[in-house]
Point group: C2
Chain length 106, copies 2
């Protein structure tokens, strides 16, 4: 399993709505994530909008490509894009910055 940590920046003025939307992620979006290998997936938020994502997957490349192939991901990412800063026209899942793992203890 690959452990992936990524960062995004939510617009401070849209934090509350972002949190609300993630209480009711569409069931078909959740199913697509599971089917494309996103497991133990959490999102954490700092007060200023810094968003940390963590998930485990057999292959980050396959997880991203798998989701990119789904129709539901295109709809979800289109709805999420306005919540984020600095996407430069990319979808949120294309823009995120993955961090280097420097330590792990099972």
């Amino acid at each position: 399993m690959q452990r992936v940590c990524f960062l995004l920046k939510v617009r401070p003025e849209r934090l509350t709505e972002y949190v609300d939307r993630h209480r009711e992620v569409w069931p078909d979006m959740l199913a697509a994530l599971s089917q494309t290998g996103w497991t133990n997936y959490s999102l954490f938020l700092r007060d200023d909008g810094l968003l940390v994502g963590y998930f485990e997957t057999p292959s980050l490349e396959a997880a991203l490509a798998g989701m990119a192939d789904t129709e539901v991901n295109a709809r979800w990412q289109a709805q999420m894009a306005p919540f984020f800063e600095s996407l430069d026209g990319r979808r949120p899942d294309e823009a995120f910055l993955t961090l280097q793992e420097v330590f792990h203890l099972d």
Copy 2:
């Protein structure tokens, strides 16, 4: 299980050494973490020194208190303190900022 995500800031001029030190964390430090309920514990680093920690534990409070009671943690944290910014005299494990979990998918 509680999923915990925390942030710290490593001094940019000490990044390489920080990474090196985490390739050889003392065995008694690893054992103390396991014994006090730190599981699936990873550290991730951004180029500028932003450090993201993620772990799972039955209780964050017990995990922190348990480590605080160990002699090895006092030694380890004393050695790590100079690597971090903005500790204001606290140990790294006293200074870290935990983030709110806003989404989870098993």
